[in-house]
């Protein structure tokens, strides 16, 4: 067994676990489900590492996470795919209960809830780009790799999305 693969894996875990968990939680609104999906992400990442070299590890992990979330929504037929298709969901409100995070106080939670709701109210094409750029601090190139678009398209989406978000947040 190549020991460097283990080191790569361990580093990928340490560097991305917080962001990946947050990203998945933001999409599925269920902490336990988010943990399960993140576990799957890393298992798939390990399998890929065995076969090939992964250049952009962060973008790769988020791409797997995004695909797994889409699969999860498809399997869970009772919840439609609004969050990816663009229609407004009746259950679009994100509940505070989903974040049982140990580090977050109730005052922070309320502020977080407002920001999440505002981002969620953006058009889907802007939503993910804005989230990945400003919350996960990814570069447009990395976001382009996650979403399968060109860097230029992503840059435009980020700018437009941010302007719309500023209007919504009255900044």
């Amino acid at each position: 067994m190549n020991p460097s693969l283990e080191k790569i894996f361990e580093k990928a875990y340490a560097d991305n676990i917080d962001g990946l968990f947050r990203f998945v939680l933001y999409k599925v609104s269920d902490k336990e489900q988010a943990i399960d999906i993140v576990e799957d992400v890393y298992l798939r990442f390990w399998q890929t590492l065995q076969k090939e070299k992964v250049e952009e590890i962060r973008a790769y992990l988020y791409k797997i996470a995004r695909n797994l979330v889409i699969d999860w929504y498809k399997k869970k037929k009772s919840i439609p795919l609004q969050s990816f298709k663009g229609e407004e969901s009746e259950n679009s409100e994100l509940y505070l209960d989903m974040f049982t995070g140990n580090l977050v106080g109730i005052d922070v939670m309320l502020e977080v809830k407002i920001v999440i709701e505002k981002i969620a109210s953006l058009e889907p094409i802007y939503r993910e780009a804005v989230y990945l750029r400003f919350v996960e601090e990814m570069t447009p190139k990395e976001i382009a790799a996650v979403l399968g678009e060109s860097t230029n398209v992503i840059s435009v989406r980020i700018n437009r999305g941010l302007n719309l978000l500023k209007l919504k947040l009255h900044i």
Partner: protein
């Protein structure tokens, strides 16, 4: 936008992260992989790195660090002697700041007196350690003369109705200097000491006060 940073506070606890890592590690082993994964323990510095991401925290951390640096430097300078690296801090920073805390002519004169005695003690310590150079002696003499001048000036400002204080301070100066006169003379007689008139102003001061 600070609003985005608030979202970053959502994360798994260390315990949950470790549990999840173990789950992944066990799943990989169950698949028949002969692999030993170790939970990556973050560096103790990394734990505090989030403090530097926020502007306010950064300023706070920097200010605390700056205060700590200043206070340790000032504290370390207390027992320095002329020729030491931090002696300049003692003379130009610590003592000058403490000068500002004395508001009345009496208290300022008393402070001058203490500084003169401190300089004489430094002179004696340097002699004991064999570090009494011409340059160090000059530094001490310069500060002693300055404090004599300040002492006289402050004494002159003491009001007539508190003349008792003026006399008390004069006596204090004389007795303090007298304690050191013999030792200064002995040091000057030492063959290693080239300046045979070192701290002459102290000796002269004692003589002049004796003759008064």
């Amino acid at each position: 936008m600070d609003e985005f940073k608030k979202l970053k506070k959502i994360k798994l606890s260390d315990y949950e992260k470790r549990n999840l890592f173990n789950r992944i590690s066990n799943s990989i082993k169950e698949d028949g992989e002969n692999v030993e994964l170790h939970y990556p323990i973050p560096s103790p510095f990394f734990r505090f790195s989030s403090l530097l991401e926020n502007k306010r925290s950064f300023v706070l951390v920097f200010s605390v660090f700056f205060l700590f640096l200043i206070s340790t430097t000032v504290f370390a300078s207390f027992n320095t002697l002329p020729g030491d690296l931090l002696y300049g801090v003692k003379i130009n920073v610590t003592e000058k700041i403490s000068d500002l805390t004395y508001l009345t002519p009496e208290s300022r004169a008393e402070h001058n007196l203490r500084k003169i005695e401190r300089r004489i003690n430094e002179f004696e310590k340097l002699a004991e350690k064999g570090r009494l150079t011409e340059e160090n002696t000059k530094k001490i003499e310069k500060d002693v003369d300055k404090n004599f001048g300040d002492f006289d000036h402050n004494l002159g400002q003491i009001k007539k109705d508190t003349k008792e204080n003026k006399n008390r301070l004069g006596k204090m100066l004389r007795s303090d200097l007298q304690k050191h006169t013999e030792k200064i003379k002995k040091i000057r007689e030492d063959k290693k000491v080239s300046n045979k008139r070192a701290l002459q102003s102290v000796i002269e001061r004692v003589h002049s006060s004796d003759s008064e």
